[in-house]
């Protein structure tokens, strides 16, 4: 009798566990359950970031479908392409100052923009550890989840030199930064108006301010123009042979899939990891849905979708594609710096150096 009772209890326990595991929020913390309930009430999830980031609207639709499936939601989405990462953060700060809801329920951007967001105190702390399925492993002390919960890194972009493979081949592919100063590239290459990569390389402990200022002056006389990261089609068209330096070679990864003559090389001196962060604006209309979306990106499915749509993922996860690039640089003895808002805040003279570099690049031509 006792044995039968024990068998029956085991059976019910098993059924219970099976049901629990198939329901949304299995093993869920109270925070996660609350967020799911909150998201159900929010109903609509408005998102805005640049069209070439995270797959734009096409990527957003797939992310939203994955989010709804994982947490048992029925959120309706509205994606609107927006300005670049820093301009969007400025817009959010303005809206917050004016008492208006944020343009985007979830902010996605780089360390520089987050640094601005933190300065203007427009980001809402989230208990990320309680809602992510798997906590990202630390990388040499770097934690993808900010200590104050205002942001969480969801992907990694590796800075390098992007080039048109029809125009730059074999031994011409730059190995060191100074290779781009070869006279044969004069008037044929481009840089960015915001000195991407250069501003970080100029910091103490990397190549240093004086070295990079001198290099940038030479580069400014060498380049034919300035283009934004993401304008890779000006490389595929042959208008420019190279972009020195990129914000990450992920657009090359995506365009290569359609046969575009585009690739990225990482110079021997080292690289900067431009992390992509998720953060919730304090004036978000759907903070719960937004936090759940960020948490979804940390799942293997979310990471796979980021790779599919934007050619990047978070390098600290074992299955990461970006991890291979980072490991390769480290194995070759190159320095790797992870760009975080906290790192930027700790640097003295970063903003001034960036402005100086931008001015050299902008005014080097007529």
């Amino acid at each position: 009798m006792l044995a039968r009772l024990q068998r029956a209890r085991s059976l019910w326990l098993g059924i219970g566990l099976l049901l629990a595991s198939s329901a949304p929020g299995y093993g869920a913390s109270a925070t996660l359950t609350q967020m799911i309930e909150g998201a159900k009430k929010e109903g609509v999830f408005r998102a805005q970031w640049s069209q070439n980031t995270f797959g734009g609207g096409e990527g957003f639709n797939e992310f939203l479908a994955g989010l709804n499936k994982k947490y048992g939601l029925n959120l309706k989405g509205q994606f609107t392409p927006g300005p670049d990462m820093q301009a969007l953060m400025v817009r959010i700060a303005q809206e917050a100052a004016a008492g208006q809801p944020s343009s985007t329920d979830l902010y996605m951007g780089n360390a520089q923009a987050l640094f601005d967001g933190l300065k203007h105190q427009v980001l809402k702390p989230v208990e990320w550890g309680a809602i992510v399925d798997r906590r990202p492993p630390k990388d040499q002390g770097y934690d993808a989840i900010a200590a104050d919960g205002t942001h969480m890194a969801i992907a990694t972009a590796v800075v390098g030199i992007e080039y048109n493979t029809n125009l730059v081949k074999g031994a011409d592919i730059p190995k060191r930064l100074t290779d781009v100063l070869n006279p044969k590239w004069k008037g044929k290459i481009a840089s960015t108006p915001y000195a991407a990569g250069l501003r970080e390389l100029a910091m103490p402990g990397f190549l240093g301010r004086e070295y990079i200022l001198d290099f940038t002056k030479k580069l400014s006389g060498q380049i034919a123009g300035l283009i934004r990261c993401g304008e890779a089609e000006r490389l595929t068209s042959g208008e420019f042979a190279m972009l020195v330096l990129t914000c990450g070679g992920n657009d090359a990864t995506v365009l290569q899939r359609s046969g575009a003559p585009l690739a990225q090389t990482i110079v021997q001196e080292g690289t900067v990891l431009h992390m992509r962060y998720a953060a919730i604006p304090k004036n978000s209309r759907a903070p719960n849905a937004a936090a759940l979306m960020a948490a979804y990106w940390m799942t293997p499915e979310g990471q796979a979708l980021l790779w599919k749509h934007d050619g990047l993922d978070l390098h600290v996860f074992p299955e990461s594609h970006m991890k291979k690039d980072v490991d390769q640089v480290r194995a070759a003895g190159g320095k790797v710096v992870i760009n975080t808002p906290e790192w930027l805040a700790s640097l003295k003279g970063y903003a001034e150096t960036q402005k100086e570099l931008e001015k050299i690049l902008r005014e080097g031509g007529k």
Binding site: N61, T80, E239, G259, E358
Partner: protein, 579 residues
Amino acid sequence: MKARALESPAFFRWRPQTSPALLALAALPIAVIALFVAVMIWVSFQRGMLGTAAAVYTLENYLAVFSDPFLYRVLWNTAVFTLTTTVVALVIGLPIAWLAERTTIPGKTAIYAIMTLGLLIPGIYTAMGWTFIAHPRIGFLNRWLVDLFGLDSAPLNIATPIGMGFVQGLSLAAVVFILTAQMFRAMNPSLEEAAKVHGLGFLRTIHRVTLPLALPGILAAVIYVVTIGIATFDIPAILGLGNRVYMLSTFIYLKVHPQGSGLPEYGITGAVGTCMIAVAALLTLLYGQVLRSGHRFEVVTGKGYRPALIELGGWSAAGWCFIGLYAFVSKLLPLLLIVYAALTPYFAPPSMEMMGKLSLVHFTNMEWGLVLRGARNTALLVVFVPLLVLVFAFAISWLVVRSRNRARYAIEFAAFLPQALPEVILAIGALLLALFVLGERVPLYGSVWLIAIVYVAARIAFATRALNGSLLQIHRELEEAAFVSGLSTLRTARRVLLPLLRPTLLSVWIWTALLVYRELTVAVFLGVHDNITFPAVIWSYWYAGGMNKASAVTLLMTILLAPLIAAFWWLGRRSQTAG
């Protein structure tokens, strides 16, 4: 009634009455423009994050503007660019307008179609098209010239102020055409016939009679093109920004959208904008002088008005060659580029390899939700903005040209101001007004109506210029006759002025609708979520490097709207003929 009017001493010093309703109609857009300007001036004295405690009042913005040597280089570039733009636009637009309205050249509807349908092609594509023609590295014309003459370097460079001015001039030739065609249409041929009777040849008649008669319209077109040249954004952005050639508009854009470090420098933009009010004032005074001497050009009267056309004979073929070359270079080539880009997976110069990669992938993967949202908002703007512009502009023009109301100079001045200001400045004024002044009390932020208000304010100047010119050419004796016959001011306007102004009203309506349809700068600045427009969708693709997706949406937009515009023109031409 006639007797009553004749008995009245008022007949001998007839002055139209200014009704309060008309005054209110004219004052409303002026008040909005004044508000935008006031916000801009207010902003010009501030630094730091607006709307927060970090914002401080200062004169530093003005000091920064005047002490920046970079700005002087920018001003020089802008001057060269604007001059080139104006010359090219006049050299092309004016003869085509004259051919279409004053000669017997066949296929006039086709000319109108070419000149207006081409406006559907966004400036960014004209610029991209010319990159493939005359870019020093990838322009096929340069490659061909280098190969043909064995040159060391490319002889043409489109990424210079002159090169960009040429491309902008091609685009604005249509503006000159629209502005001057209705003037040529309304011109009394009897003076030209008199010149012929007195033995003047064709060229001397053009020089001594036609051009002086056309002077107000030409001057209006010049002022309009000059101000567009100063303020234009798309072509300098595409051809100049990447090549480090900066114009005033791209300079302002970079101050508001810093590409990298720092906050938007609205204060600097405000200071530049405030300085530009002075430029606007000068241009307004110049135009005012033309207006005051306008009675010299009153040639359309109630009797004897019959348009006569100049027989071109064999010269028609030459005329069509000129128009055809213009159409090919400025319209067909960019359109072909759009088709090509929409069908290729990534952007690369045309080649056999790329031809093998043509597909419909950008159409099958189109984000219809976004595209339809953009189309709905653009349709709303295209319907309402031209209508409001015509109502307000008619009220303003009538007050300025016909009334003796003392407020007319102020109204004229204020109506012209937006013309001389880059639209980005109006957009910033509207944005800050909606965010920090109106707030939640008047929920305009993020709404399509905020964009509509800026469009109306921005287009009033063009509409009043065109209506002023036409009103000047309609002699007062027609209205006096109506008044003597006992018609009220409103009925006089409806029965006498509106039928005579119909061609101008129609061209203003179409031109405003087209400009609204393709306008980008304001839409980008004020677009948030629900109010994104069709061009802003295209821009969002283009700006993010998705040239091919942008091309697919542009092609869709052109295909959808082209027949409608063509039908509208056909109806317009038919109603004129019937009239």
